[in-house]
């Protein structure tokens, strides 16, 4: 299951292959950068203009913890961010918020993305050690062109429920030697209303994103490329948290060199240096109910290098990648006493924690025959942590070392078989991951879900994952069905447990939890996906997912998605498309009261949308109108922080113009 790019992108792959097949002498560069052409797919079944979060949500292996309308935390295989690798073109970038209010997906915008690669479990170790898998956000990357070519797109729209206005534009220029990609986007949304018509206060947001990329062809088979993304979110409300975001900004830069080879076993060599900086400032001044005024700024700075070699000979192909990065995460909290003349109280929630990682990943693929192939891969990484102000960590863990180095091995193997209409795959994996900055060095990080202050433990052992996965599918012209399942047995599973030590620091909290290792935990995910072409114009698809997570005593793990399904019916005729979908989460039977979860009731959401495509030379345009949550259902999902209600009925409109 190595290259089990679940995705969203199996379709893309087809497009890629097609594009590769069509290339002429100008060539390979296009072949490698062709993913840029997949931009059309940054949309979901229901909506042509989506946010990155909405786009990810359409994948069967991703679910979300939502703290509001913005910056949802992606869960891959029902595992949180610390268990999966979130990268942008393989570049590591880490959020600067201790409360996970800024997953890196929040620093991008759909119009600077080409696609998202999702790899499950150990097959996601190409960019570094992981347990849950990897989510790699691929940026738009226009290919060199024979003749000077301009292209671009503009999307605009309005969503009625939260009065969201968005304007996204991007433009590309390409000729034989030079490529320029640029994009700018702006979103502004007010508070949304829930299914009862009540306004959910503090759910507004404003986001500005812009990206530029330039490539220059340095030789027949080589090119350099520089990229930069600047993202700024301001005045973002988090209704589920006791504070909002005043400002978060990210600057993501990289410079890459790519060399292709005509002959020999080495086909491509791609190296990149990168730098990114994230700053995140929370704001509680809009919450007069807060007893304590508090500043919680955070910074995260990462430098890195990645170098990737693609090898191929006959039926054998291989990918080798070197990943190196250095990250410093800093988060402060400063509490203001009620009598402001008294001295403020200060502590670090991330005491200047340095993380360095250097690892080599390898992925081999042998096509045994036209019908079957074997994947074998692995990675070995060295992971180093240093806490500058380790005395903070020593308060709860006397004698904790200031520095810690870990080795993170990983291997995985899979077999794939394609018979006439049936395809089958089975795989297994083993891998370690190091505790995240919060798990290792976090200090009084308030979790408003279970209302505990969390303390990291520098001496935590590596989490060790054993996984098996399998999939079986059947496809005949009009009908297809796919069943995928995976099972993780994770030793030394890291989770917060109530400490009998100390007392809370944040006034809303009820106690202190320390990150500890369970003996083990198990996680099982299964999804069934089907589609059927009822006629030439009518297409039906459905997805059913189920997951179960248990700790070593049989208790439930938190944030495990209950049984759920999504089903959609599409009708298209000429330039008109109509689709309707039904999403249902069944009641959350296996909730974890220990983590502040309660039984979340079942809910069903019905959506409908219609779009119309038309052309006015040289442009093509699509206009869409739709309604989400037609029944105006009042609901919250199992992973809605603090059970905040989701959006009620929402009418959305959008216009997309391509040229």
């Amino acid at each position: 299951m190595l290259m089990k790019r679940l995705t969203l992108s199996s379709l893309l792959l087809l497009i890629c292959i097609k594009a590769v097949a069509q290339t002429d002498s100008t060539t390979h560069i296009e072949a490698v950068t062709v993913r840029g052409k997949a931009k059309k797919k940054m949309e979901t079944d229901m909506k042509i203009s989506v946010s990155v979060d909405e786009f990810l949500a359409s994948s069967e292996s991703i679910s979300f913890i939502k703290r509001g309308a913005y910056a949802w935390e992606p869960l891959l295989n029902n595992m949180g961010m610390e268990r999966s690798n979130l990268t942008i073109d393989g570049m590591h970038i880490f959020g600067a918020c201790t409360d996970k209010m800024d997953p890196i997906t929040s620093y991008l915008e759909v119009n600077n993305l080409a696609t998202v690669d999702i790899a499950s479990g150990q097959s996601g170790n190409m960019h570094g050690a992981t347990v849950g898998g990897s989510i790699d956000l691929k940026r738009r990357n226009t290919a060199f062109a024979e003749r000077p070519t301009w292209s671009g797109a503009y999307q605009t729209g309005f969503e009625f429920n939260n009065k969201q206005v968005f304007n996204l534009g991007n433009v590309s220029f390409a000729d034989q030697r030079f490529v320029f990609d640029g994009s700018a986007s702006f979103r502004k949304a007010g508070n949304y209303s829930d299914g009862l018509g009540n306004e959910v206060r503090h759910s507004q947001y404003t986001k500005l994103n812009s990206a530029v990329g330039m490539a220059y062809k340095t030789g027949r088979l080589s090119s350099v490329r520089v990229d930069a993304i600047f993202d700024q979110a301001k005045d973002v409300g988090f209704p589920a948290l006791p504070m909002d975001l005043w400002l978060s900004r990210a600057l993501i830069t990289s410079a890459a060199y790519k060399q292709l080879f005509d002959d020999g076993i080495v086909k491509a060599w791609d190296s990149k240096v990168y730098y990114n900086a994230v700053e995140h400032y929370m704001d509680d001044t809009t919450r007069p109910e807060n007893l304590v005024h508090m500043d919680m700024p955070g910074w995260s700075t990462t430098y890195g290098l990645l170098s990737n070699l693609q090898l191929q000979r006959g039926r054998y192909s291989s990918e080798v990648q070197l990943n190196i990065y250095d990250n410093v995460s800093i988060a402060e909290m400063r509490m203001y006493p009620q009598d402001r003349s008294n001295r403020t109280m200060f502590a670090y929630s991330w005491p200047w924690v340095t993380t360095r990682y250097a690892g080599l990943s390898l992925d081999n693929n042998w096509a045994l025959s036209d019908k079957s192939q074997v994947n074998l891969g692995g990675s070995l990484g060295l992971h180093y942590n240093r806490s500058k102000y380790v005395e903070f960590n020593r308060i709860f863990h006397p004698g904790a070392p200031q520095e810690k180095t870990r080795a993170l091995p990983s291997i995985h193997a899979s077999y794939q078989l394609q018979l006439n209409h049936i395809h089958f795959s089975a795989g297994t994996g083993y891998g370690h991951r190091a505790p995240s900055v919060s798990e290792g060095y976090g200090y009084y990080i308030y979790n408003s879900f279970d209302r505990y202050d969390y303390i990291g433990n520098p001496d935590l052992n590596n989490e060790v994952s054993y996984e098996v996965n399998a999939s079986v599918g059947y496809r005949k012209e009009k009908f297809g069905i796919d069943v995928k399942a995976n099972y993780f047995h994770i030793d030394q599973y890291i989770i917060g447990r109530i400490l009998s030590l100390g007392s809370p620091m944040n006034y809303q909290s009820v106690g202190v939890k320390g990150y500890t290792s369970l003996d083990y935990a198990t996680l099982f995910n299964v999804s069934i996906k089907g589609d059927y072409h009822l006629s030439h114009n009518v297409h039906w698809n459905a997805l059913l997912t189920y997951a179960r997570g248990q700790d070593d005593r049989g208790g439930n793990l938190p944030f495990i998605r209950p049984l759920s399904y999504q089903t959609a019916l599409h009708y298209s005729r000429k330039k008109l498309g109509i689709q309707t979908s039904l999403n249902r989460d069944f009641a959350q039977a296996h909730f974890s009261p220990e983590f502040g979860e309660d039984r979340t009731a079942a809910y069903t959401i019905w959506n409908v949308s219609a779009d119309y495509r038309f052309a006015f030379k040289p442009c093509t345009a699509t206009i869409q109108v739709g309604v989400e949550n037609i029944g105006n259902t009042y609901y919250s999902t199992y992973a809605d922080w603090g059970n905040i209600p989701r959006m009620g009925r929402n009418i959305f409109t959008s216009l997309k113009v391509n040229f």
């Binding site: 900004r249 509490m335 008294n342 109280m345 308060i395 006034y507």
Partner: protein, 347 residues
């Protein structure tokens, strides 16, 4: 051209025009391309400049990071150097009394004495030095404070050391004097000199005096750390008891205060600030007596700010002499309840 040639008059003209037009348009197309490329490169330059500007803007973050060390330095001034506080002349000897920062403060003071003779060199032939702080009450009665009477000689650094716990500042009508006796070659000389005791601004070196359940008078003085950090701190304190004067005793001042032995100082540090809700810290250790007579424990401060060290003092038999158990509940918005025996600190 052939077609044009048939047109008698206009032909050459038209041909010329057409040629020029075509040429021009091609030219202008080229120009356009050039123009475009130039535009692109200038845009590129612009973008690069813009990116650089953004880089710089980001690099110099919107909000500055806290300079933690500097902030600690600002809030607590640590004195590490012994400087001359007073020099007393006594029968040809100069007694240089040193204290941290050259100042006597209310509370615990370590003192160092160096004696020089008339020729200005350090006198080595001293067999004993006694040290006695005296304060004069308004009624003229003499009193003292906890102190080390017979000073210890440190041969390697050539000084005598001891301590004094000044229980009041000079400002509060107390007049303080030091009385020092030297015994050189069997001959004892005594000198007395007025000194100034200043208030201790560093609350981490505060002291408290109180009457215990046994009706005895006690003094607890913090000795260290001078400058705590958000960390595990070694907490040092001296505990002294006032001994009722024995009328018959001639040198009662010398024995007025003695360090208590075998006591326990139970510790419960908390932040009294209402918004902190009676916040406490883990892994603290009660203060127990060490070989040097001082009491040593562990206090963890989880953040900077105001803290209260809540104590319960037990005597050597385990009986409570002073102090009350403070509630351990987390009570946001309420000022923390303090023990009957406590010292407030701030860093």
């Amino acid at each position: 051209m052939h077609a044009f040639a048939r047109l008698p008059v206009f032909t050459p003209y038209l041909a010329k025009r057409l040629h020029r037009y075509l040429f021009k348009s091609v030219l202008s197309f080229r120009c356009n391309v050039n123009y475009f490329l130039r535009r692109i490169f200038s845009t590129m330059k612009g973008t690069l400049c813009c990116m650089l500007a953004i880089c710089l803007a980001i690099a110099s973050c919107t909000k500055d990071k806290t300079d933690y060390e500097a902030e600690l330095d600002d809030s607590v001034i640590e004195h590490v150097e012994f400087q001359e506080a007073v020099t007393i002349s006594s029968e040809g000897y100069n007694i240089r009394v040193e204290a941290l920062n050259g100042t006597f403060y209310k509370g615990y003071n370590e003192v160092r004495l160096q004696v020089t003779n008339a020729s200005g060199s350090v006198e080595h032939d001293i067999s004993a030095v006694t040290f006695l702080p005296i304060n004069m009450a308004s009624d003229g009665r003499e009193n003292t404070c906890p102190h080390q009477h017979t000073l210890l000689y440190h041969a390697e650094q050539d000084y005598f050391s001891g301590y004094a716990v000044f229980t009041e500042t000079s400002e509060n009508v107390h007049v303080w004097e030091l009385q020092i006796s030297l015994t050189v070659a069997g001959k004892t000389s005594t000198a007395r000199q007025a000194i100034t005791v200043r208030p201790q601004v560093n609350k981490n070196l505060s002291m408290t005096s109180f009457v215990g359940n046994d009706n005895a008078q006690y003094v607890i003085a913090l000795v260290g750390p001078q400058k705590p950090t958000v960390s595990e701190n070694e907490l040092l304190a001296g505990i002294y008891k006032y001994n009722e004067p024995n009328a018959a005793s001639a040198n009662r001042l010398e024995f007025a205060y003695t360090p208590v032995n075998g006591y326990t100082l139970q510790l419960d540090p908390r932040m009294p600030e209402p918004s902190m809700g009676n916040h406490s810290s883990p892994n603290n250790k009660d203060l127990l007596q060490q070989a040097n007579g001082l009491y040593r424990g562990i206090v963890n401060y989880t953040m900077t700010g105001n803290w209260t060290l809540n104590f319960i003092m037990l005597n050597d038999k385990g009986q409570i002499i002073k102090g009350t158990v403070v509630p351990g509940d987390f009570t946001p918005g309420v000022v923390g309840v303090k023990s009957a025996l406590h010292i407030d600190i701030l860093f």
